[in-house]
């Protein structure tokens, strides 16, 4: 294989690495003020995103440890887009922060880990990628150095992720022991439903479930989201979740295909639990970040239902939904981060009469929430619809009914926020917010995405054409 192809195949990873080293040099060089740095970084990230789109080639290198194809590239592009948006949104917060570059280094290396995880061809690479995406985040979660909660969040994240990776490894060791290989493609032939392998699978699955915070492995989520800086929270809730879901889909659909009727039930069970618990917790929350945390848990439940569908539809719908989820959730987090960075307010009760002072932001947040709730014409509607559509493939209608009815609860809490912004009165509402240019761009992109992604079907068709048939 030509050396050049290596670079083509690895171009996204290489881009990230290059940015990391550039940032390192900037750091080691003379002191620069944050504005310039942030400007540079955002440009880098944009370039990075752009590079992702050029020249698609498929192939596996390093003896199958690194495999890539158009779908994988697309997934990575989604993540690139997400991190670009996040970095623009966190402008207001980072402008005054001391360790901007370090922050980006951590975020980017975690992203790099995700890339390797996504295109991993064997369990070792998968494990490395997973850890690499987790450990830096734990450090990044601590970046509000002055805040007690921040470090508590970091602690909770690192401890529980270490625990979960311990269990994951335990499972992996048994898979290795029973199949004798770490390579996915070889493994798939050897997986049968022997108890030990099932157990190993469940351990592995729990590792995934932990990362995407599915019930009952979700308990760290809310605390970490609340404690961590908003930028990290949005990264956790969007990027790392999306990455793990991508892997989960491919692993379930390829490696554990032979167990499909078992994991179908498992996934469905977990999905329903996740939706219900997520909703039940979300209706009580007052802190915006915590609220969004639980709402995102509920969203994961729906994603799992889509995964359970186990069909080409399933893959396509899940990825499609994640794209939409990126836009919607980031739009919401964008507003929240602006408010918390500039006004330092994070409670829903603070948002009362928000519309009177910041109509634009209020509309953006409303649209985002509607998209999360799945109200047309926002893209969220299409996403949810297709997820449930895919989930119904195997004809389990009662669970679908439960899920659908749970959407009503979710409506309740999303509308609660809308109500607070539009209908409630407030003595001292949040003052007028001057939106920085970057945030403006980011929010604009999100809103456009929310509108366009749903109504224009070619996006879905494209994803569908990429996604493998089950």
């Amino acid at each position: 294989m030509m050396l050049f192809d290596f670079f083509i195949l690895l171009r996204q990873e290489l881009m990230i690495t290059a940015i990391i080293f550039l940032l390192l040099f900037i750091k080691l060089g003379k002191e620069r003020n944050n504005e310039t740095i942030l400007l540079l970084v955002n440009i880098f990230l944009f370039v990075n995103l752009a590079v992702g789109f050029c020249c698609n080639t498929e192939g596996a290198i390093f003896s199958g440890m690194f495999t890539t194809n158009t779908l994988v590239v697309f997934e990575k592009n989604i993540l690139n887009l997400a991190i670009w948006i996040i970095s623009m949104q966190s402008y207001a917060w980072l402008k005054t922060h001391k360790q901007v570059i370090e922050f980006y280094l951590l975020l980017l290396s975690s992203l790099l880990g995700m890339f390797f995880m996504i295109s991993s061809g064997n369990l070792l690479m998968f494990y490395l990628g997973l850890e690499m995406s987790t450990i830096p985040l734990a450090a990044a979660a601590n970046f509000d150095l002055a805040k007690r909660q921040s470090s508590e969040a970091a602690l909770k994240l690192i401890i529980s992720s270490a625990f979960s990776s311990g269990l994951l490894l335990f499972g992996i060791s048994f898979i290795y022991g029973t199949t004798g290989t770490l390579v996915f493609s070889e493994m798939a032939t050897q997986i049968t439903n022997q108890p030990l392998q099932l157990f190993a699978f469940i351990l592995l699955f729990s590792g995934f479930a932990f990362k995407i915070s599915a019930v009952p492995f979700h308990l760290w989520t809310a605390d970490v989201y609340e404690g961590a800086p908003v930028a990290v929270t949005s990264f956790l809730s969007v990027v790392s979740k999306a990455a793990v879901v991508f892997v989960l889909v491919s692993v379930l659909y390829t490696v554990f295909k032979s167990l499909s009727e078992v994991w179908y039930n498992i996934v469905f069970l977990i999905a329903l639990l996740t939706i219900i618990v997520g909703n039940l917790f979300a209706i009580r929350q007052n802190n915006m970040k915590r609220f969004l945390a639980f709402s995102s848990i509920a969203q994961v439940g729906f994603i799992l239902i889509g995964i359970a569908g186990s069909s080409q539809k399933g893959t396509a719908s899940v990825i499609y939904f994640l794209l939409i989820y990126v836009f919607s959730n980031l739009a919401a987090f964008g507003v929240v981060s602006l408010v918390s960075a500039i006004k330092g307010k994070e409670n829903i009760s603070d948002y009362k009469a928000f519309y009177t002072t910041n109509p634009m932001l209020a509309w953006v947040l409303t649209i985002a929430l509607f998209s999360l709730a799945g109200v047309p014409p926002t893209a969220g509607f299409f996403g949810k619809f297709f997820l449930l559509l895919a989930g119904t493939e195997k004809g389990s209608y009662w669970p679908i009914t439960i899920a659908a009815l749970n959407m009503v609860i979710s409506f309740y809490y999303y509308l609660r926020v809308v109500k607070a912004m539009f209908m409630d009165s407030n003595e001292q509402p949040i003052g007028k917010i001057v939106i920085p240019g970057f945030s403006k761009i980011a929010l604009f992109i999100c809103v456009i995405g929310i509108i366009v992604t749903g109504l224009f079907s070619w996006i879905y068709d494209y994803i569908f054409s990429l996604s493998p048939s089950f």
Binding site: L123, L124, Y127, L128, E131, I135, A138, A139, N142, L145, R148, Q149, S151, E152, A153, A154, L155, K156, I158, I159, A162, F163, S165, G166, L169, F170, I172, S173, F174, Y176, G177, G180, T181, L182, A222, D223, E226, G227, R284
Partner: protein, 104 residues
């Protein structure tokens, strides 16, 4: 040494794993929790080595996996300890139950 069957070694590793888990559950001191985690990871290492040696000696997957696990364990421990120290500065305590402001 062949009269020691694989399952004996697995017994040891499994036992060690759950000892570690027990420690994680019970210890209130964060550093000791960390130790417990190290125990768990070590038991996994034992698994890998044992499997590799007993069942699949033709390739060295298990061995390499062990090496990487060790490395990552080190990194994880380092970050964890850094966090713990910082937390200690903020909370003036490393009792895990004191670090439970975020809840419900």
């Amino acid at each position: 040494m062949n009269e020691i069957p694989l399952s004996y070694i697995l017994f040891v590793s499994t036992a060690l794993f759950f000892i570690g888990m027990y420690g994680l559950f019970t210890r209130r001191n964060m550093i000791t929790m960390l130790m417990a985690i190290e125990l768990m990871l070590n038991s996994v290492n034992i698994n890998f080595v044992a499997f590799n040696k007993y069942l699949f000696p033709e390739k060295l997957d298990g061995i390499f996996f062990t090496i990487f696990i060790i490395t990552i364990a080190a990194a994880e421990a380092a970050v964890a300890i850094a966090i713990i120290i910082h937390l200690y500065r903020n909370h003036k305590s490393i009792d895990v139950d004191d670090a439970s402001e975020l809840k419900f």
